[in-house]
């Protein structure tokens, strides 16, 4: 198929979109570390080309009928044939567009945010690494290739979270993120190998065709689906591997916006969507996924209610929204899940970037402090953050409203009304916690008088100027993303056509009862209202209802003690338990016995040597004795 010119164009575009960031990554790390401006230029240049290629591909193949696959054999070793290539269908056309667009915006934004950081070049190097890995992940033709880049995405996440490596908490968070996602990935890897061993082919197109797996036993299918889902749980920070994501907020804010909200964590959901036909072959697995999505969504929402750290609120909200997506997909709502993925990428990136502006300016993450410092005076971010929060809460006419509605639609199609109830509760909580933040930010309740913008004196003139120019670089992405959040929802229908045509399995959608249009909206409004009562209105004490219940608030603040539990497991079971046991065994038993044998040999040497020092006649006796013994042997 490589002959026709159209394919050649596609291939070139895809290679350019994926490989250029890699080239820039290598160049930055090897050659241009000492020149921050050049590095940033390289990185942004490459991501611009990626974006252009992605959009070109999207435009070219907007009415793509059948997936296009390019593959070459990367590795063939007896009995094992690992193809490597590109798969192009509507889903990943969409994905690469989202990824490259947000990468582009965030990298531009970072010009301002990261200005003056000593690791500026390194930052852009890692950003390029991420872009490469994420774009390649989206375009992967086989599950193994996807895993390959899946891990690399994890690597860039590790490096970027721990970017400020002199901060202990940052490095700790990076390590935690890597290890926890790795735990999920181990399951993914096992599932992948299992699948390979039984089917002999990991090509995504192959796995998604029902005919290919018809001969495989259902229980096996369920098992491998569950294992692969383990990877999704890790990457998308679902229950029970959810706690790394809030910690990951230790990284620079643009990183949180890019990796830990819009794209990388969405890779899990993307994988779900990618293998949707495969997963949907096992109804048991789908139910499990649905349950996990629901649990994560609710738990994370409760955590978000009590957090004072603005980034952490958005982080919890990310988990919760990802939970929504998983729920949607688990309920068979392919379109709803992917649609929410898209809209969420936009408004969540927006939220983070806005918060980043505040944090960059006031150097604190605490909502109350930000509010007291007068964050609301920065107009563009404030407007944008309100828009973003509204989109997150699912208020019309913003994009979030449409995608939430779609999700509720697919949940409603389930037999068990419990899922829908949980979803609706989630909608309420989402609206509540997002507007809690907004109202706190908008209506400062200073203990004293309105405090002046702080630290004005502390910032030198040059630094201030840098902030100002940086502010402009940071503002544009906000405006673009806000616009997207506002407009995108109206393209629901065409989006549905685009996506729905792309996937073979549409899932259940359609017969939605009319009250479904109203219920989510009503609940979202109720959430906003409660937030208004507690935080917004004049005289409100800005104490949430949960805060009045110490037990509950403690439980939520401690993240339901999940983290504590893992800490204990790692410390007591692994570190002080098995690992210590093994070390002791190594030193005492194995080394001990070897050393013991050696010492015994030397000791016996002393004995033997001592026997040689006696009187001469003992030796004569020994000669006689041994001869006599040997002769005796003869008679036996």
């Amino acid at each position: 198929m490589a002959g026709s010119p159209a394919y050649a164009v596609d291939l070139t575009a895809m290679i350019a979109a994926t490989m250029l960031p890699f080239v820039s990554f290598l160049t930055i790390l090897i050659a241009t570390r000492g020149r921050p401006r050049l590095s940033a230029g390289l990185s942004i240049g490459s991501v611009t080309i990626s974006l252009a290629c992605s959009i070109a591909l999207l435009a070219l193949h907007f009415h793509l009928a059948a997936p296009i696959e390019f593959s070459t054999r990367l590795l063939a070793s007896g009995g094992l044939d690992i193809p490597f290539g590109f798969l192009l269908d509507r889903l990943n056309l969409l994905m690469i567009a989202i990824v490259s667009a947000i990468c582009f915006l965030v990298q531009v934004y970072s010009l301002g945010y990261m200005a003056g950081d000593p690791g500026f070049s390194r930052y852009y190097g890692f950003m390029s690494l991420f872009t490469w890995a994420m774009m390649s992940l989206a375009l992967s033709a086989s599950l193994l290739q996807l895993y390959f880049f899946w891990e690399l995405v994890g690597l860039s996440s590790y490096l970027l979270i721990g970017f400020w490596y002199e901060k202990f908490s940052a490095t700790q968070a990076g390590k935690k993120a890597f290890v926890m996602t790795r735990a999920g990935d181990a399951a993914f890897f096992i599932g992948l190998l299992l699948l390979f061993v039984h089917t002999g082919d990991l090509s995504i197109a192959h796995l998604d065709s029902r005919s290919a797996l018809s001969g495989v036993s259902p229980s096996f299918l369920t098992l491998s689906a569950l294992l692969i889902f383990g990877g999704i749980v890790g990457k998308s920070a679902q229950f029970p591997l959810m706690t790394w994501l809030p910690d990951a907020m230790e990284g620079p804010t643009p990183v949180s916006a890019l990796l830990h909200s819009a794209t990388m964590v969405a890779a899990g959901v993307y994988l779900f969507a990618r293998l949707f036909p495969f997963f949907s072959m096992s109804s048991v697995a789908m139910t499990v996924f649905l349950a996990i999505g629901t649990i994560s969504m609710l738990l994370a929402s409760t955590m978000a209610i009590v957090s004072r750290d603005i980034k952490k609120v958005w982080a919890y909200s990310t988990i919760s929204q990802l939970g929504f997506m998983i729920m949607a997909l688990g309920a068979g709502g392919y379109f709803a899940g992917v649609f929410h993925l898209t809209t969420h990428a936009g408004f969540k990136a927006l939220l983070f970037l806005c918060s980043g502006v505040f944090i960059h300016r006031y150097e604190t993450n605490d909502i109350y402090e930000l509010s007291r410092f007068g964050a609301r005076r920065m107009v563009i971010p404030t407007v944008s953050i309100v828009l973003g929060a509204a989109a997150l809460s699912g208020l019309p006419p913003l994009s979030g409203y449409f995608s939430k509605e779609a999700i509720m639609g697919s949940l409603a199609a389930m037999h068990n009304p419990l899922w829908l109830a949980a979803g609706l509760a989630g909608v309420f909580l989402t609206a509540y916690y997002s507007f809690r933040v907004i109202f706190i930010l908008l209506f400062p309740r200073a203990e004293g008088a309105a405090s002046p913008p702080p630290q004005e004196a502390g910032i030198t003139a040059g630094g201030h100027a840098a902030h100002e120019s940086g502010y402009r670089a940071m503002a544009w992405p906000l405006i673009i993303l806000s616009a997207v959040s506002v407009i995108f929802g109206f393209f629901k229908t065409s989006f549905k056509d685009f996506i729905g045509g792309g996937a073979a399995a549409g899932g259940a959608a359609g017969m939605e009862p009319s009250w479904l249009h109203i219920a989510p909206l009503a609940l979202a409004l109720a959430g906003v209202g409660l937030a208004w009562v507690e935080f917004g209105r004049k005289g409100a004490k800005q104490i949430g209802f949960v805060d009045r219940m110490p037990v509950l608030s403690r439980l939520f603040a401690e993240r339901w003690y999940i983290d504590r539990f893992y800490g204990l497991v790692v410390e007591f079971v692994i570190d002080r338990g098995i690992s210590r046991l093994c070390s002791q065994n190594d030193r005492k038993v194995i080394d001990g016995s070897i050393d013991g044998i050696c010492e015994g040999t030397v000791e016996s040497g002393w004995v033997v040597a001592f026997l040689q020092t006696g009187m001469i006649q003992y030796r004569l006796l020994a000669i006689l004795g041994v001869l006599a013994l040997l002769l005796l042997c003869f008679y036996f």
């Binding site: 040689q612 009187m615 006649q617 004569l620």
Partner: protein
């Protein structure tokens, strides 16, 4: 009457054992040498007996040489032992324990 060869061997064996006993038990260097001489003589008896038994002269030749060698042995041995006695004043084998 002619003693059977096995009796000769038994006598030689007993003599050998006596010599060995002497060499092993007596705490005097000279007596050890004497014990060894007795062992040599036991061998000589066995040789003579064998020679007669087989009607072969090799055994007799052996005895002649054993006598000569035994004489050499005594001279070399006594030379060393006496020299040692002059230095240490002792014939007790237990006193020679420098080497360890």
């Amino acid at each position: 009457m002619i003693a059977p060869f096995s009796h000769v061997l038994v006598v030689a064996g007993i003599l050998f054992a006596l010599g060995a006993f002497c060499a092993v038990t007596r705490r005097n260097l000279i007596m050890i040498v004497l014990g060894i001489e007795i062992m040599l003589n036991a061998a000589a008896i066995a040789f003579v007996g064998g020679s007669l038994h087989l009607d072969n002269l090799d055994g007799q030749t052996f005895v002649l040489f054993i006598l000569a060698v035994a004489a050499t042995e005594v001279s070399v041995g006594l030379a060393i032992i006496v020299y040692a006695f002059r230095r240490t004043g002792s014939f007790d084998p237990a006193d020679f324990n420098l080497l360890r």
